[in-house]
Symmetry: C2
Subunit: 485 residues, 2 copies
């Protein structure tokens, strides 16, 4: 292999020439997604360039998302290099008039589907159950109940089990945030954490700034609490628009009592805010005296590279309430989540106590044990590797089977895909047609207040198998039929 066999200008720096050479091999199909690229040492020998030059080249290729490093294993071609459709262009809503959320029937329909075992569930954000450490975790649950019988049946009153809080606190180092166990309150999943935060910060009539499109359960929650939602546009790549947020906070001076954001691998877009933007977000909200509720439930699931920082890591005044859980990585049914609520901690503990007393004890003990001795980091690496393979496969299938003009998000973490179909297609009609074919999807209507995103759907890409592939083909066909009529 000669470095000069590519079209790279001879004037480009050497590392760029090397990078472009590898890039060419990938595009050409010589190096296929998931395959290992030559080791740094062997490429350095082959091309007769220095080790540092190859390192620099690979680092650039990583940045450009062509390859990814796997610990103790080397570099691999990223699966994203499939023939993907364009990314969605998210519509921009009016910023100066918060809309009252109206509970719509769509949510009820989709939720009812969840209990139907005959439907293929592509509409809910369930993790792939086969990838969860079920046996190990259940064994730890059994063991905890045997070793700590009295603790297992007794209340773990707020803030919750100490050992679990210690483990969670240690793990926050990974997200550049060194919390102490005393700053953490255990909750029944992340949704309860966010629910407690909203109830601690807002009273009915208040406004909450959110991203759009946004996780539908939170939109329903905001409605149920009698709050108004102010939708701030978000990009599928970088997350919430800070300029728009600044403008909106200024326009709605004093009305906005909280800002609820998913900076890492947003649901539904999969977007990732840059660290710099997280820092700006925290500063902006602190300036406006608006607390930030940060949902980091997907933070442990990057599809490449390392775990991102949390916005909370830039918080110096206790203004950020960081919420997360183990529902996407270990066991949704264990209902173990947590919140680090900064200066609102006491209110959160009070709210937890009076609205449910405590989180179940046995599952707290089991998750605490898993974090301490179960190899959580190793498990995460496996999980992320699988999702990094599956998510692009579904995106690729969508690009092949959906009508021309369909756009798909390129999530940087998590396992959700946001699909924007041509404007003539109605996602609710697609939802209904898909249901008769045994497939449940989440129509875009759910992700905003007033039927925006009516041409969008959210799909769960956590599982990839022949059934799911067939479902994508069916969905594509059904979407296409709408264009014909």
């Amino acid at each position: 292999m000669s470095i000069h066999s590519t079209q790279t200008s001879i004037d480009a720096p050497l590392y760029e020439q090397v990078a472009n050479r590898i890039c060419y091999l990938i595009k050409q199909g010589t190096l296929r997604p998931g395959e290992k690229v030559p080791s740094i040492r062997s490429l350095s020998k082959q091309l007769q360039v220095s080790i540092n030059t190859v390192k620099e080249a690979y680092s650039q290729l990583e940045d450009r998302q062509f390859i990814e490093a796997r610990p103790q294993s080397g570099y691999y071609v990223r699966a994203q290099q499939l023939n993907l459709p364009s990314e969605p262009i998210v519509d921009r809503p009016a910023l100066d008039r918060p809309a009252a959320v109206t509970i719509n029937n769509v949510y009820g329909l989709v939720m009812r589907d969840l209990l139907n075992p005959n439907l293929l569930q592509l509409g809910i954000a369930n993790p792939n159950a086969e990838l969860l450490p079920t046996t190990k975790l259940n064994r730890m649950l059994a063991r905890a109940a045997r070793l700590h019988p009295l603790q297992a049946v007794s209340y773990e009153l707020p803030p919750g089990n100490l050992r679990l809080r210690q483990q969670i606190a240690q793990r926050t180092l990974e997200s550049s945030c060194a919390l102490s166990p005393d700053e953490i309150v255990i909750t029944s999943g992340c949704v309860e954490a966010v629910s407690l935060a909203l109830r601690a910060l807002c009273k009915p009539g208040d406004t909450v700034a959110i991203e759009t499109p946004f996780y539908f359960n939170f939109i329903q929650l905001i409605a149920e609490l009698g709050l108004k939602a102010l939708e701030i546009p978000a990009s599928p790549r970088g997350g919430i628009s800070l300029e728009a947020l600044d403008y909106a906070l200024t326009s709605n001076q004093g009305d906005v009592k909280a800002c609820l954001v998913i900076p890492n691998f947003n649901n539904p877009l999969g977007s990732l805010m840059a660290d710099e933007d997280k820092q700006k977000l925290v500063a902006l909200l602190t300036k406006h005296q608006v607390p930030l509720i940060e949902d980091d439930i997907y933070g442990d699931l990057p599809l490449s590279g390392k775990r991102p920082s949390v916005a909370k890591s830039f918080d110096t005044s206790g203004n950020v309430l960081l919420c997360s859980s183990f529902s996407k990585t270990l066991a949704p049914g264990y209902r173990v989540g947590w919140i680090a609520a900064g200066r609102y901690q006491e209110r959160i503990e009070h709210g937890k106590m009076i609205s449910g007393v405590a989180t179940a004890s046995p599952t707290q003990l089991a998750i605490g044990e898993f974090l301490a001795t179960g190899g959580y980091e190793h498990h995460l690496r496996t999980l992320c590797r699988h999702y990094a393979r599956m998510v692009p496969l579904m995106a690729d299938a969508i690009s092949r089977h959906f009508p021309a003009g369909t756009r798909v998000s390129r999530p940087q973490g998590g396992f959700l895909l946001w699909v924007e179909m041509p404007h003539q297609i109605n996602a609710l009609r697609l939802y209904e047609a898909a249901r008769t074919c045994g497939i449940s999807i989440a129509p875009g209507h759910l992700f905003s207040l007033e039927g925006k995103f009516s041409n969008c759907i959210r799909l769960n890409a956590a599982c990839w198998n022949s059934c799911v592939e067939a479902a994508i083909i069916t969905l594509g066909r059904l979407a296409g039929e709408q264009l014909e009529n």
Copy 2:
């Protein structure tokens, strides 16, 4: 033993003469609390009266709470025949002006105590952990996780685990209420059930009618939700005053959006509403179109006789939301409760979904298994027998060690005692003094909105041992010191 050796009038019916004879033996101390009274057959022989006459006499003595039947064992002298002080006279508040609840610091203080392992916890309504079937239950938890690994880690979405709902539905026959599994939604304990009910029925500014004194967590919850509480007087024997409630509902026409009552073994009074009154309560609220939230968490714990009916059993229009849990009888830390919400079921399921998604799965599986195969009824009988012994022992100790004029409730179920001290005594001062002696109690201030019951305390009588006895002596001394100053 001659039937004529008592002071009973010779004109009284024969069965009454027999009853009074036994009564005399008890008062005299010949038959002591906990001792077996002669069998029906042997007494009939001894006194030369018919079997039916003795049966009638024992039935009367049971009604008068002198003796109690134990299944397959005969009749026993009830422990209540100790030297008890008078029952409390609950003050009557103004009925026409609902007061806005102000969150007070007392609650925070008492809750903080709960986490202090150096305090003897007489202030919280924890069951006696030694009487819980800890080993069996934890074994079932381990087994459920082993046999149903995937179910244990997956969401049990609302309405919750089917087998558990079937078991709960079957058990509602005991409380004269034949619910179907479909009418039940599993919650994270009874407090969450009540919290969901209040949120489904009321919006901020609405009024909720409650009993007074009333469980402090619910008062805090009402405050947190921005609701007003309308306190209806309750008697330590018969529960909420229906006349007062009728008057209050009429005065506050349309403002009262829910009525929250604990008809069976109220917390803190231990009162039991008669079936007739439950029926009237349901009819009254239906007439006023006010839904009834019924908390039946202590219903399985009668101190004598059979399990009482629930008000829900008189509900024909779906206007009653029955809430309960296994926190007082099996495992508080498992966080498994339920609600049968009548015509509000859909709203409750929606509320559960958006504020916490689901209740933990493994503990639902374990409680379902325990109800099906663990001998719950047998366990309840043992539990009730212990509480029936312990509660009067603490009441007796209070009567001996507290200042003259102290009154104590005679709970008919559960394990809580309401202690009304002379008016000069301040329960908050007593709380503080007791805390320095290593004892935590619940001051009466917590049980109403504006410092009523300032001379009252609630004590947990679920454990009786030498430590608790010493604590009662200390509390009595500290209360007495307030009178001296």
